[in-house]
C-alpha cells in the first residue's frame, strides 16, 4: 500500500463556549491514500465539519495529530507557504458565504492563480478563464457580479478557485446540500471528473448516503464525534455492522441496494 496522503491520529477538538466546553471531535483516526475519494457520513452535528476544518488547519486540535502530505498541518492563521496551499484546498457548504461578494468570478480565480502560481496579471486571467471554463462557467458568467450567480454556479467558481492552487487533496464539506437535486447531481459529476482526471484525493462529507455512495471509494460513518464504522463503500452500505449505520441506511430508500446516481466508483 502506498504511503497515505492524510493521516489523522486520535484527534480531539473541543470548543470553549460561554455555556461550557463542547467536544466536537472525540478521538478520530483516519487515513486517505493519494488519489482516493473518502466519504464521511453522519447526521448533522456529528462533527463532520469540525473534522474537515481540522484537516485543512482552520481549527486547532486539542490533542492528536493531523499529517498531510508528510507534514503536520499548519494552522492557517500563521503564514501558509505555497506548498501548503498546493497540498490541500477546501470547498465549503454554504455557497452564499464562500465567495467574496466584492469580487467577480474571474477576479477571484485570477487572484488565486496569481498568488499560487506566481503568474503575472494577464497570464493569471487567461489561466483563470480556462479553469472557470473547465468547471462549466461561461465567459459571460465569469464577468458577472457574484451576487447574481446561483448556488450551483457559486460552488463551481469555488471549485475553480481551489483548483488554481493545483492541490493534491480537496476537502468538500457538503458542497451540494444547499443545492437542488439536479444541480447537485451535475456538481457531483464535475467532482468525479476532476478526481479522475487530476488524480487528486477527495475527502467528501455529506449527510446524504446516496451521494457518498456515488462518489466514495471508502467511507467513514461518524456519530457524536467518533467514527462508528468504516470500510469499502459497498460493504458498509450493503452489510452495515453497526446499529447506527443500519438506521442511516434503512432511512434512505434505495441507498442500501441500488446506486442512486448510476454507476458505482471503481473498486479495489
Amino acid at each position: 500500500m502506498t504511503e497515505p496522503i492524510i493521516t489523522v491520529a486520535d484527534l480531539h477538538v473541543t470548543f470553549a463556549t460561554p455555556r461550557g466546553d463542547v467536544p466536537a471531535v472525540r478521538g478520530v483516526d483516519l487515513v486517505v491514500a493519494p488519489g482516493e475519494t473518502v466519504g464521511i457520513v453522519g447526521e448533522s452535528g456529528s462533527g463532520k465539519s469540525t473534522l474537515a476544518r481540522a484537516i485543512v488547519g482552520l481549527v486547532d486540535a486539542q490533542s492528536g495529530s493531523v499529517t498531510v502530505d508528510g507534514r503536520p498541518v499548519r494552522p492557517v492563521h500563521g503564514r501558509r507557504s505555497r506548498a501548503d496551499a498546493a497540498t490541500v484546498q477546501m470547498i465549503f457548504q454554504d455557497p452564499y458565504s464562500s465567495l467574496n461578494p466584492r469580487q467577480r468570478p474571474i477576479d477571484a480565480v485570477a487572484e488565486a492563480v496569481h498568488v499560487c502560481q506566481r503568474l503575472d496579471r494577464k497570464a493569471s486571467r487567461a489561466r483563470a478563464m480556462e479553469l472557470l471554463g473547465s468547471v462549466g462557467i461561461s465567459q459571460a458568467q465569469c464577468r458577472m457580479k457574484t451576487r447574481s450567480l446561483s448556488g450551483g454556479q457559486r460552488q463551481r467558481v469555488s471549485i475553480a478557485r481551489a483548483l488554481a492552487a493545483e492541490p493534491k487533496i480537496l476537502v468538500a464539506d457538503e458542497p451540494t446540500s444547499a443545492l437542488d437535486q439536479s444541480i447537485a447531481a451535475s456538481l457531483l459529476n464535475l467532482l468525479r471528473r476532476i478526481q479522475s482526471e487530476r488524480g487528486i484525493a477527495v475527502v467528501f462529507i455529506s449527510h446524504d448516503l446516496g451521494v457518498v455512495r456515488y462518489l466514495a471509494h471508502r467511507v467513514y460513518v461518524m456519530k457524536e464525534g467518533v467514527f462508528v464504522e468504516d470500510g469499502v463503500t459497498v460493504d458498509v452500505f450493503e452489510a452495515p455492522r453497526h446499529e447506527y449505520t443500519r438506521t442511516l441506511v434503512s432511512s434512505v430508500p434505495g441507498a442500501g441496494t441500488t446506486v442512486a446516481h448510476g454507476h458505482a466508483p471503481a473498486q479495489e
Binding site: V13, T14, F15, A16, T17, P18, R19, D21, V59, D60, Q62
Partner: protein, 324 residues
C-alpha cells in the same frame, strides 16, 4: 474559536457577575484616563490659553502646578487618580471652589431632569413599541416612521427653543427659566424640558422595544398562551412586555449617555442651573479642573449604569450575555 483547556479562565467565565463588575472597574479607569488625557493630549496648551502667550515664565510654572500639569506625565496621572479616588477633583480656577462641591451643588437639577425624562420616556415608548410590533406594516407604523425621522433630524436645542417660545412665552403654561429642588415645585420646571428630550428619545426606545416584542412574538410559549386563552391584560404584561424588557434594559447605559448629553443642551436652553450649564460655562471660561471633573463624573455615571444594567440582565436571564 478553539481555546485552551479549563483552568483559571474557566472559573472566570462562569462567574459572569465577577466579570461584569471587573470590566466596569476597568472601563471606569480608562474613562478616568480619557478625562485626564483630554487636557494633556488635545492639540493646544491650556496654560498658554489661560495666560496668553505674553505670560512670564514664573506665572506659567505656577499655573502648571495649579492645573496639575507639572512633572512627568506618569506622575501627573497617578496623582490625578489618587486624588479622584478620594473624591478630590481639584479646584476651579475661576471661582476657587473645589470642583467636587461645584458638582454636588449642581447635580440635583440634572439628575431630576434625567429621572423625569426617563420615566416619561418609558411611559410613552412601551405602549408605542407594543402598538408598532402588533401591526408592523400598518398606517400607524408608517406615520411613526415619518414622525421619527422628523424628530431625529430636529436639533434638540432648536426644538427646546421653539417649545420655550410657544409654551412659556406665548401661552405662559411653563416657567421661562430656573429650577427649584422642592418636590412638587420642581415638576413645574421639569415637565417641558423633559418632554422636549422625550421627543427625540421615545422614537429610539420605541423602536428597540418593538424589535424585542417582535422577537418575543416568535417564541412558542406565546402561541401556547393564545391557545390556552390567557386573559388580555395578563397576556400583554406577562407574555409580551416582561420578556421584552431585557433588551431595553441592556441599552440603559447608552440611554443614560444620550440623556446626559441631551440635558446639557436643554439645561442651557431652559437656563437650568445643572451640571450641563456648569460644564458649558467652564468650557467657555477655560476652567480646566472643572471641565475635567465633570467629564469624569459623567463618564463614570454612564459606566456605573451600564454595569448595573448588565447585572440586572444577568439576574433576569442567566443564560444571556456570553460573548458580546
Amino acid at each position: 474559536m478553539p481555546r485552551r483547556r479549563a483552568g483559571f479562565t474557566d472559573v472566570w467565565r462562569r462567574h459572569r457577575a465577577v466579570q461584569i463588575v471587573a470590566r466596569g472597574v476597568a472601563v471606569s479607569f480608562i474613562v478616568a484616563t480619557v478625562a485626564f488625557s483630554v487636557l494633556r493630549f488635545a492639540p493646544g496648551d491650556p496654560v498658554l490659553a489661560i495666560l496668553g502667550d505674553q505670560a512670564t515664565p514664573s506665572a506659567v510654572t505656577a499655573m502648571r502646578a495649579k492645573l496639575g500639569l507639572d512633572g512627568n506625565i506618569f506622575v501627573q496621572y497617578l496623582r490625578f487618580l489618587g486624588h479622584a479616588v478620594r473624591g478630590d477633583l481639584g479646584t476651579s480656577i475661576t471661582s476657587g471652589v473645589p470642583v467636587a462641591r461645584i458638582i454636588g451643588d449642581s447635580i440635583a437639577p440634572t439628575l431630576s431632569l434625567v429621572a423625569m425624562t426617563a420615566i416619561l420616556a418609558l411611559i410613552f415608548s412601551v405602549p408605542l413599541g407594543l402598538r408598532l410590533a402588533l401591526a408592523p406594516e400598518g398606517l400607524f407604523s408608517k406615520v411613526f416612521r415619518v414622525a421619527a425621522s422628523l424628530s431625529l433630524a430636529m436639533p434638540g436645542f432648536f426644538l427646546g427653543l421653539l417649545a420655550l417660545l410657544l409654551f412659556a412665552i406665548r401661552w405662559g403654561v411653563a416657567p421661562v427659566a430656573g429650577f427649584t429642588s422642592t418636590f412638587p415645585g420642581a415638576l413645574t420646571y421639569l415637565w417641558l424640558p423633559a418632554l422636549v428630550i422625550c421627543a427625540q428619545l421615545v422614537p429610539i426606545l420605541a423602536r428597540v422595544f418593538r424589535a424585542s416584542v417582535l422577537r418575543t412574538l416568535d417564541e412558542e410559549f406565546i402561541e401556547a398562551a393564545i391557545v390556552r386563552g390567557v386573559s388580555r391584560p395578563r397576556f400583554y404584561w406577562h407574555y409580551l412586555i416582561r420578556p421584552s424588557i431585557a433588551p431595553t434594559i441592556a441599552l440603559l447605559g447608552y440611554i443614560t449617555g444620550q440623556l446626559l448629553g441631551a440635558s446639557v443642551m436643554i439645561e442651557m436652553v431652559f437656563s437650568m442651573p445643572g451640571i450641563g450649564t456648569r460644564l458649558v460655562r467652564a468650557v467657555t471660561t477655560r476652567d480646566y479642573p472643572t471641565v475635567q471633573g465633570i467629564l469624569l463624573v459623567f463618564g463614570v455615571l454612564v459606566v456605573l449604569i451600564t454595569t448595573l444594567s448588565e447585572l440586572v440582565i444577568k439576574r433576569l436571564d442567566p443564560r444571556a450575555g456570553g460573548d458580546r
